[in-house]
């Protein structure tokens, strides 16, 4: 098992190298003079020259790359033009907000989608099967920002049950003392029930938006893979051996059906991390997505680059986690490693 994890870690390295190269090339592909870009529109000629030197842009590309990598290894992602703050620090402080939102969205969608897919597969043609089909087809067609706005309109403007879509916490509350950075957890640790409820209220709509978005691919895959497994020969053998439906579905079908679903989670994460940017904009969520969007509007490239890199590294790590999870279930991967 440990060998498998180590082996998989080794295999994540080429991906990470690829990610670093691509983000580096993206900066260098900026139209015009990157130095002028970084210096901002109002900079003088000398200022641009100075920045060029400062950024090492007067050196050949390989040397620039070495410099870029060594900066990164020291946790230096450059400085945001608009705020003057180091990008890395800003991203670190905003990361928990994004992570809390994305994880809650994922958990909710898995909790709904997996049972829905299983029930649909075990009773084809039933009401729940049709519900599942509608949910999956409609779900993948919903633009995530549109879902968010419609939810805001109904639950905030019409019904008035949701708070205004303005960040993680109502202005009357102060953030709980930071331990994990997740307000839900931190407020529980601080035994602050009111803050917990207030931050949960803020979280519900954006998390629901993400959950609706992630629901479709998970439910669709669960249903399809459960159907495939239920039609497989070993399930037929299990049935022909008189095993109870519970044993057949849980021990024989479900565990096997989860393997493709876990693989799908990789794709779901890819979608979720992207959707997260849009949801953060809709709900003015102070995460790294809205940080990147603000920087984009201000043509401030360093934060965007830092954001792309952070997201990619997180995504590589999540995929690693998925593979380890896969290995936990599937002995074929575990033993052969």
């Amino acid at each position: 098992m440990l060998r498998m994890v180590l082996k998989r870690l080794m295999l994540a390295i080429p991906s990470l190298i690829g990610v670093v190269i691509v983000t580096f090339l993206l900066t260098r592909a900026l139209p015009g003079d990157p130095a002028a870009y970084f210096a901002g529109p109002a900079a003088t000629e000398e200022a641009v020259a100075q920045i060029r030197k400062q950024l090492g842009l007067d050196q050949p590309l390989p040397q620039q790359f070495v410099r870029y990598v060594s900066d990164l290894s020291r946790g230096d992602m450059g400085v945001a033009l608009t705020t003057g703050q180091p990008v890395a620090a800003e991203i670190m402080s905003r990361l928990p907000a994004s992570a809390e939102l994305t994880l809650l969205g994922l958990i909710v969608s898995v909790l709904i989608a997996v049972p829905l897919g299983i029930l649909a597969a075990t009773s084809p043609g039933s009401m729940i099967d049709h519900t599942c089909r509608i949910v999956t087809t409609a779900g993948v067609s919903l633009p995530v920002f549109f879902t968010g706005l419609v939810l805001v309109y109904f639950f905030y403007y019409q019904l008035g049950v949701a708070p205004a879509p303005l960040g993680r916490l109502d202005v009357y509350f102060s953030a709980p003392p930071q331990i994990t950075g997740f307000y839900l957890i931190d407020s529980l640790i601080a035994r602050d029930g009111e803050t917990f409820v207030a931050s949960l209220k803020q979280l519900i709509l954006p998390a629901a938006t993400l959950a609706i978005f992630a629901l479709a691919p998970i439910a669709r895959m669960t249903r399809a893979s459960m159907l495939a497994v239920l039609g497989s020969e070993f399930v037929r053998t299990a049935r022909a051996s008189g095993l109870s439906p519970g044993t057949v579905i849980v021990t024989y079908a479900f565990r096997n059906a989860m393997l493709p679903v876990i693989t799908t989670l990789g794709m779901v994460f890819s979608f979720l991390l992207g959707a997260n940017v849009l949801v953060e904009k809709v709900f003015a969520w102070p995460g790294i997505g809205s940080y990147a969007v603000e920087a984009l509007i201000a043509s401030d490239f360093a934060p965007v680059q830092g954001f792309v890199l952070t997201m990619a590294v997180m995504y590589v790590m999540l995929n690693l986690l998925i593979d380890v999870l896969y290995g936990l279930i599937d002995p074929r991967v575990r033993i052969e490693a």
């Binding site: 690829g18 633009p143 920002f145 309109y153 979608f271 984009l296 997201m311 990619a312």
Partner: protein
């Protein structure tokens, strides 16, 4: 495959048989028929939309700003008094064009690279797979953001970025399909019949992969529209006042909390219907091509 024997009387020549089968599937499956109708509507709006809309999509009229849906303004007006209905219809052409071009581009890049990788193996395969893996290491929308931000804020770059992030999907499907056919009996038989490798690739393997790729194209059309609209929603690509669904939703977003729902709602609805249509159509096409792989 077994399904095709259902129409034994049908003449066996390509298009006729496919059309007959399509007719059968659409007749059988009303949802696909509905999607096809919707598709025709979208194409129509894209082609003649700008000539039939009741109002100029760009003309602002502050006296008529923020009016709800009415007989005069079917979908209401926005903060500048522009007719939302006209803007939604006119936007069809741009959104549709972005999707078509990016899908065509990725089909050419990813499809051909993948087929070559799967068929020839070796270095071709290693290079294509490495490129695909590197792109796959990014969350796709995030990479698209990065590409558009770096290359410049234009519609062309939106198309390119959408094509690039879809590259791995096409390359992998084409690669896998070509790979399983590489040593298939009919390919070996083609070698025995004196076909060179390139002729086998183009004459025997590609035609057999095309149906699968067409289904994929239909399914990714929806994703391409979503991706492009998402990028313009956060301010990349298309610039105001150009009518485009994503940017219109973005413009209307602020008014959602004050109750002027129609500004963002109708373009969002149009976006949703278009994506829905392509997804249903993709599923329907898959049924036509392979009735056994229904989900």
């Amino acid at each position: 495959m077994s399904d095709a024997t259902a129409t034994p009387a049908a003449p066996t020549h390509g298009i006729g048989a496919i059309l007959r089968h399509a007719q059968y599937v659409i007749g059988e499956n009303k949802v696909t028929g509905f999607a096809f109708g919707l598709f025709l509507l979208i194409v129509l709006a894209a082609l003649i939309g700008p000539y039939i809309v009741p109002h100029d999509p760009l003309a602002s009229n502050t006296s008529a700003a923020l009016q709800g849906p009415s007989a005069k303004y079917w979908f209401g007006t926005d903060q500048l008094g522009r007719d939302v209905f006209s803007r939604v219809i006119v936007a069809t052409r741009l959104d549709f064009a972005i999707a078509i071009f990016s899908v065509a581009l990725v089909f050419l890049m990813g499809g051909l690279a993948g087929v070559a990788a799967g068929f020839f193996g070796g270095w071709t395969d290693r290079i294509v797979s490495r490129i695909a893996d590197t792109i796959m290491a990014f969350p796709l929308f995030v990479l698209a953001m990065g590409i558009v931000a770096a290359l410049g804020n234009t519609v062309e770059n939106i198309i390119l970025a959408t094509a690039i992030v879809n590259f791995p999907l096409y390359a992998r499907i084409a690669r896998a399909e070509a790979n399983v056919r590489r040593e298939a009996g009919f390919v070996q038989a083609a070698r025995l019949s004196g076909n060179g490798e390139f002729r086998i690739l183009l004459g025997h393997i590609l035609p057999n992969i095309m149906p699968i790729m067409v289904v994929q194209m239909s399914l990714t059309m929806g994703y391409a529209i979503l991706n492009a609209a998402g990028l313009s929603f956060i301010g990349l690509g298309v610039r105001p006042p150009t009518p485009e669904w994503g940017i219109m939703v973005a413009e209307g977003a602020a008014f959602m909390v004050s109750g002027e729902w129609w500004i963002a709602f109708f373009p969002g609805l149009a976006l949703m219907l278009a994506v829905f249509c392509f997804n249903l159509l993709g599923d329907g096409l898959r049924d036509i091509i392979d009735p056994q792989r229904r989900t």
